[in-house]
């Protein structure tokens, strides 16, 4: 039954998008995190998606191929009174850009919704196919 593979395809996309939402959540949660004594602050993470063939060449799912750390420089803020300030009075924060993360979140959520809708439509069509001839 060829239409059943839609559930695999859209399901893989949904799980990939929810992983993306997860990463966005951790990035946003750590947006204001301050680096510890070793000076290594939190680095924003991004997912890399990859097409994965499913059965025939007509259906292509998605999977997360890797999680990459952002290579942007860590944000340094002058705040000599902060307990984590270094000798020059700078505090190292994470390199997460909250605006980018919000955009990323909206994009992921829209893609998630699209795939849910695809699954719903496929389900309706399959149910109607089951009733064929009645």
């Amino acid at each position: 039954m060829s239409m059943f593979s839609i559930f695999n395809v859209s399901g893989s996309a949904i799980s990939a998008q929810s992983q993306r939402l997860n990463v966005v959540a951790s990035n946003l949660a750590n947006a204001d995190a301050v680096a510890g004594p070793d000076g290594q602050g939190y680095k924003g993470r991004q997912l890399v998606f990859e097409t994965v063939p499913m059965g025939s060449d007509a259906s292509a799912g998605v999977r997360v191929s890797s999680v990459k750390e952002s290579s942007e420089p860590l944000r340094r803020v002058h705040n000599p009174n902060h307990p984590s300030a270094d000798a020059e009075g700078y505090v190292t924060h994470s390199n997460v850009n909250p605006v980018e993360e919000m955009v990323n979140m909206i994009s992921a959520s829209r893609s998630y919704q699209n795939n849910v809708e695809v699954m719903n439509t496929a389900k309706t069509l399959l149910l109607k196919t089951l009733q064929m001839g009645q």
Binding site: S2, S10, K128, M132
Partner: protein, 142 residues
């Protein structure tokens, strides 16, 4: 005689299989809307249908004519596209808005295609249902 009666049913069942196939292709496109480097695909329904109803075997490989605009161009009609296996009338869609990551999925178009295809799938289903009802009432003779 019965074969004549079910001819129309045959046609619609082939159409239904192709509609399901196209639905699958479009679902893959929507699933890969955020995958870098993914190239959107689509099923040329007219070609696939002509293939399916013309030859006895459904989904025979179509002879895709390629345009040669230069004398040095090599026609690729006879070549099979290695990784894609047998090509069931599947083609690559034309990119409407180029993107930096090489993804050619136009989500608006894909969603429109998806809805369009599901309506057509359902109408084919109704044709089949009507046809089978007709045959059934002919058999029962009531």
């Amino acid at each position: 005689m019965f074969a004549q009666m079910t001819n129309g049913l045959d046609f619609h069942s082939k159409a239904l299989v192709l509609r399901a196939e196209r639905q699958r292709v479009i679902a893959s496109n929507i699933a890969n809307a955020d995958t870098p480097g993914y190239v959107a695909r689509d099923l040329n329904f007219r070609e696939a249908m002509a293939n399916a109803s013309g030859s006895s075997s459904t989904l025979a490989r179509p002879e895709t004519p390629t345009a040669t605009t230069h004398s040095a161009h090599i026609p690729i009609g006879g070549l099979s596209i290695g990784s894609l296996g047998s090509n069931n009338g599947l083609a690559y869609t034309v990119q409407s808005q180029p993107s930096a990551d090489g993804n050619s999925v136009d989500l608006d178009r894909e969603r429109a295609n998806f809805v369009d295809n599901s309506v057509r799938y359902e109408s084919t289903l109704r044709f089949i249902n009507g046809y089978s009802k007709t045959i059934l009432s002919a058999i029962q003779g009531q």
